[in-house]
């Protein structure tokens, strides 16, 4: 809503309060002012001039030489190129020394040899927004009304010595979609009186009832419909004061009748519509729901297909307007219109909203109806508009209003005690202070002996229906700054993180401290990307947005890996060939084609290593990441979270992974082994396509990790008896997994085995084709005594024997 300072001043005295100060007061009171703009875009020294004579320029067909009187007693000679300039006109004249918008200074000039002492201006040259100009002012010089005083400053003639406040209204304050509403608000802030406009109607003898009939068949959607009739109007341009008011508010003047309806809408917040009464057969108005298959050509000459949920104004047969949204072309007020049927009504906000959205027709009118208009303004606005039309279009208002579905507006009564107000806000307001605030708001109230205020809320404040709404009014008018700052009373409870939150924080910290960079990707991705890494999402469907911004961001991610790869590519393109990245976030799975319940949101951890772990430097060669760096991340996480003993790794071939360099991460759960993630190299074909160096990734489900993670550190006594270490090197077939060898050895050695590790693996000609050597180091220890050489030798021999039996392992000499 744009509010002209000068216009507002007609409803409330703004003296002593500049536009800037007013804006600050309103903002601090809860009506945010986005900006204060001067209507004068930089015009100085332009005055009203009278074109005394016009002659053709001797050397230029398109130019005229005018003699202009600007009231200084001396006629100016001005060369003018406008087609519409003529003797006898009153026009804006930028005299020598005047300045036009854009810091354009007017100097003495010669045009094709003829001296010009100034410039006759168009509206556009005066900085007026040409989108808002009435049609007749859009081209050529601006011709002013005959009554304009010669020599007067153009800024005051055009009313651009004004500032406009741009209100950024919250949805609850639609009462400020009107000048009067804003005046009441300023009154509440300043305590000043609101002056209501004159809306007295001087009725003619003829009765409206014989000329107009109104019936409402959908009272729920149209709780009040009123109409007046104005006879014998002459359609023409509005006076400049009215045009200026509309332009200040951002509305283009059309003609006197339409301009009045817009003006009164801005004044009262009540949209009005004027029909050409002679095009409404028998003056009959029937308000009803639209019927299937009906159409209406609206004022913008578009044929609209109507639907049964839309409310229409009809002439008893055909729709002639879309209630509250837009009028129909067939009953439009045109230059030849002589009789006006003027409508002022209330329409259901939800219906108007739905209709205007569906048809893409948002208007000043629909915006106001959507937020519900003040029932108490329907008739005052109708009267005000009728009286102005009569005055400005020289018509006669017939006697009486016809109306239907007229229900008296009811005022909400709200009760709140002083104790409740103070208890809610933490203030210590006296009843006198609260009474003063209610007085400034112009709310009627009783204050009882029980300390309770019983407040009758005016219908213009439809947002106030319960005690807390009154408390808010008191708070904002008392000033939020004046509410004290207190600590919360009551028990102090310690704050804390949940186990999953603590785990995620630990992971972040560990990985960042180990040199990985955390990334955050979008949850929206393309369907193609959700298919790239299906390994952990078997059988699940992605969730699709119903109206995505683009196909690229049309579904929710099902894995973190596709975007992690994309991030690596993004950085590779920026000369960062090496990257160590991780992300912790949700992926989304559903089983349904169309969702009837929420999808599964699964917390995942993913990491990516590409390029070099160590860059080449003065004291070392570059070292590339390999599979075991990625696996080491999982192992570190597992040991930090106390689940290392529950994890095993099995060769796996998920899609887009290197088939020989990928492991499934298997968690030993209560219900058996379960794959909770994968670690491996990207498939070389993928690496080639993405132009990435060897790249290793991990993706891990976090929910099972949350479940099995064990934070309890239980101290074990340090060993008191010596350990015995035995190394063996066995030759096995190359496809025997080292993990299987250690697992078998561990099982055989039993409780006395303290640890086992692989300390060497190699292949070579000496071993024979398809063979490899695996060297293991086993540490034996007994907690309560020193082991004897004999028993360790015996046990160790058993281990070797078992490996030989199960894997065909030969002891290497």
């Amino acid at each position: 809503m744009k509010v002209s300072y000068q216009w507002l001043n007609e409803y409330i005295d703004l003296s002593g309060l500049s536009a800037e100060e007013l804006a600050e007061r309103m903002t601090r009171g809860g009506i945010e002012i986005d900006g204060v703009e001067s209507r004068n875009k930089g015009v100085t020294g332009v005055v009203v001039g009278h074109v005394v004579s016009k002659e053709k320029h001797p050397d230029a067909d398109k130019l005229n030489v005018c003699k202009v009187d600007v009231g200084t007693g001396e006629e100016l000679q001005i060369v003018c190129g406008a087609k519409n300039v003529d003797a006898g006109q009153l026009v804006p004249v930028a005299v020598i020394g005047a300045v036009l918008p854009g810091d354009f200074k007017i100097k003495r000039a010669k045009l094709r040899g003829v001296e010009s002492q100034g410039m006759i201006c168009s509206a556009k040259e005066l900085g007026l927004n040409d989108k808002l100009l009435p049609k007749e002012q859009q081209e050529g010089i601006l011709v002013l009304p005959e009554s304009t005083r010669i020599g007067a400053s153009i800024a005051s003639v055009l009313g651009i010595d004004d500032e406009v406040l741009e209100l950024d209204l919250t949805p609850n304050r639609s009462d400020c979609l009107s000048m009067l509403g804003v005046a009441y608000e300023v009154g509440a802030l300043t305590g000043r009186e609101v002056k209501l406009p004159d809306n007295a109607v001087h009725d003619a003898a003829a009765k409206t009832e014989g000329l107009v009939s109104v019936a409402v068949e959908a009272e729920e959607q149209c709780p009040h419909y009123t109409a007046r009739y104005i006879q014998g109007v002459t359609i023409g341009s509005s006076p400049s004061w009215l045009q200026n008011r509309l332009m200040a508010a951002g509305i283009r003047p059309i003609n006197n009748v339409v301009d009045v309806t817009n003006f009164v809408m801005l004044e009262y917040g009540q949209p009005l519509h004027a029909f050409d009464a002679d095009k409404v057969p028998g003056g009959r108005i029937v308000v009803r729901m639209a019927r299937e298959g009906e159409t209406l050509v609206t004022l913008d000459d578009q044929e609209r297909r109507l639907e049964p949920h839309m409310l229409v104004i009809t002439d008893g047969n055909e729709p002639i307007a879309l209630a509250g949204v837009m009028g129909g072309a067939s009953t439009e007020v045109t230059a030849g219109t002589t009789n006006i049927l003027l409508e002022s009504a209330r329409f259901d906000g939800g219906i108007v909203r739905k209709t205007s959205r569906q048809l893409g027709l948002r208007s000043e009118s629909s915006i106001r109806f959507e937020k519900e208009v003040d029932p108490a303004s329907v008739i005052p606005a109708l009267d005000r508009a009728a009286s102005l039309i009569a005055q400005l279009a020289s018509g006669l208002v017939t006697d009486g209003i016809v109306q239907a579905a007229a229900k008296a507006p009811e005022k909400a009564v709200v009760e709140v005690t002083l104790a409740r107000i103070n208890g809610y806000l933490g203030t210590e307001l006296s009843s006198l202070e609260v009474r003063s605030i209610l007085g400034r708001l112009r709310f009627d109230y009783d204050f009882g002996a029980d300390d309770a205020f019983r407040i009758q809320v005016p219908t213009r404040r439809g947002d106030i229906t319960r005690a807390v709404d009154i408390i808010e009014e008191v708070a904002r008018l008392h000033g939020y700054d004046n509410i004290p700052t207190t600590p919360i009373h009551g028990d102090v409870i310690p704050g804390s993180l949940t186990k999953p939150q603590a785990i995620r924080r630990e992971l972040r910290k560990r990985l960042a401290d180990s040199g990985l960079n955390e990334v955050t990707s979008y949850s929206f991705t393309s369907p193609a990307r959700t298919e790239m890494f299906p390994a952990l999402s078997e059988g699940a469907r992605p969730v699709r947005l119903s109206m995505p911004m683009s196909e690229e961001r049309s579904v929710l991610r099902t894995s973190l890996l596709a975007q992690l790869v994309e991030t690596a590519v993004y950085n590779r393109n920026r000369k960062n060939e090496s990257a160590a990245l991780f992300e912790i976030g949700s992926v989304f799975h559903t089983d349904e084609e169309t969702l009837t319940r929420l999808p599964r949101e699964k917390h995942r951890f993913a990491a990516l290593l590409t390029g070099n772990r160590v860059q080449s430097s003065w004291n070392g060669k570059a070292e590339a990441y390999d599979f075991y760096d990625a696996k080491g991340i999982v192992e570190t996480i597992a040991s930090v979270l106390g689940i290392a003993g529950k994890l095993t790794y099995a060769p796996a071939q998920p899609e887009h992974f290197h088939p020989g360099r990928t492991a499934a991460i298997v968690l030993d759960t209560e219900s058996g082994p379960s794959i909770i993630g994968y670690v491996g190299q990207l498939h070389p074909a993928g690496q080639l396509e993405w132009e990435l160096a060897d790249t290793y990734v991990v993706e891990l489900e976090l929910e099972p990790v949350y479940e099995y993670a064990d934070f309890d550190i239980v101290y074990r006594t340090l060993p008191r008896y010596p350990a015995m270490e035995r190394d063996i090197a066995v030759v096995v077939n190359a496809d025997v997994a080292a993990g299987d060898l250690t697992a078998a050895a561990t099982r055989t050695a039993g409780a006395l085995l303290e640890s086992i590790s692989v300390f060497d693996v190699f292949t070579g000609e000496r071993l024979g084709a398809g063979k490899k050597s695996v060297a293991l180091s086993l540490v034996y220890r007994h907690a309560e005594r020193t082991l004897t050489d004999e028993e360790v030798t015996a046990l160790h021999a058993e281990v070797v024997g078992h490996l030989a039996q199960s894997f065909g392992a030969e002891l290497r000499k």
């Binding site: 601090r28 509410i483 704050g495 990985l516 960079n517 955050t520 990707s521 995505p548 009837t596 004291n619």
Partner: protein
């Protein structure tokens, strides 16, 4: 014999004077003082001396030995010092060459800031509540006093999946879930961090995906002054003890009264600068007293308990805190950007 000893002394000292290496010094030690050395050789003739002569010659012999030993010792120390110095010279390295750093990665700045905010509130006795990013219309809107067709729904255009399921547009549904889970118990003191989604064209200050942190407190006798007190405590911990807050009346369907909260400009400390558009204030969060209807829908009697809620954008705080000029950096994951957050 005495003369031979004196002669030996003179000869030994002369030779030692000229010795140039540790090896030569060792040889001289053996030559003069060794088991088969010159001194021993002379003393072997002691047996032929008379009892009177023996102690005299013995005395001279000890004196000679002492003198030779002292010079050898002196030479020994000199050689050792020289050798040490030589080794140190050889071992000298260029200390200006770079060392081997411990690996340093980084926590994403949005998480870094979110954790910092969470920690402030954990210190104030809050717990952290979480909820789904895909929500029902009921939790996201209806239970927050935003019925279908409510004009305030225009304020946040949403990404719907179906008519009833959407990407949450704020973290407020977690408030409702928390209230329902609390089953009417008080006090409730939670912080709800998380990703939210709104239909917005991405530019330097807008992102369709962003992070919010909300707070909710419900209890008996919770007042708007407590809300102010809590927020002041928060901004002073987050932005320094000089930071002040300013509340401006505003509107949210789920709180009443509602306010937008400004904090003293972090750049100019309130003097006015480009960052705060010369106002001295930066808008950082929205807040208010929990609307009675929201309390009712959450299973509380608004006559019995009251509460407050507040919410802030993590991106906004991070932009201000680090002076970042474009919100899109948070999601492009450029290592040159992320690497800057490796510091404490």
């Amino acid at each position: 014999m005495k003369a031979r000893l004196e002669e030996l002394r003179a000869e030994a000292l002369g030779e030692l004077q000229a010795v140039a290496s540790q090896g030569a010094l060792n040889d001289l030690r053996v030559k003069y003082l060794g088991k088969k050395g010159a001194l021993t050789e002379i003393l072997r003739g002691m047996g032929a001396l008379s009892a009177e002569e023996r102690p005299v010659i013995g005395g001279v012999a000890n004196e000679v030995r002492g003198a030779i030993e002292a010079v050898i010792e002196e030479k020994q120390i000199a050689f050792q010092r020289e050798e040490t110095e030589g080794r140190l010279r050889e071992e000298t390295i260029d200390v200006t060459l770079p060392g081997r750093k411990l690996p340093t990665g980084s926590v994403h700045p949005l998480n870094k800031v979110a954790q910092e905010i969470e920690d402030v509130f954990i210190g104030l006795g809050y717990t952290i509540a979480e909820g789904p990013e895909v929500e029902t219309d009921y939790y996201n809107f209806e239970a927050l006093n935003l019925p279908k067709n409510h004009p305030a729904r225009d304020m946040q255009d949403s990404f719907y999946v179906t008519d009833e399921i959407l990407m949450r547009t704020h973290t407020s549904p977690v408030q409702v879930r928390t209230m329902k889970a609390s089953a009417g118990m008080t006090p409730v003191k939670v912080i709800c961090p998380g990703k939210v989604y709104r239909r917005d064209d991405d530019d330097a200050t807008h992102s369709f995906q962003f992070n919010q942190i909300e707070g909710l407190v419900i209890g008996k006798g919770i007042r708007m002054s407590d809300l102010k007190g809590t927020l002041l405590q928060f901004v002073q911990q987050m932005f320094g003890s000089q930071a002040q807050i300013r509340l401006r009346p505003s509107f949210f369907p789920f709180t009443e009264p509602s306010a937008e909260v400004d904090v003293t400009c972090v750049q100019c400390a309130g003097d006015g600068c480009r960052m705060c558009k010369q106002t001295g204030w930066l808008e950082i969060l929205g807040c208010g007293m929990v609307h009675p209807r929201v309390l009712e829908m959450g299973g509380y009697d608004p006559e019995e308990v009251t509460g407050f809620a507040f919410g802030m954008g993590v991106e906004r705080i991070a932009l201000l805190k680090y002076g970042i000029d474009d919100i899109r950096h948070f999601y492009s994951n450029d290592l040159r950007f992320l690497g800057q957050f490796a510091r404490m």
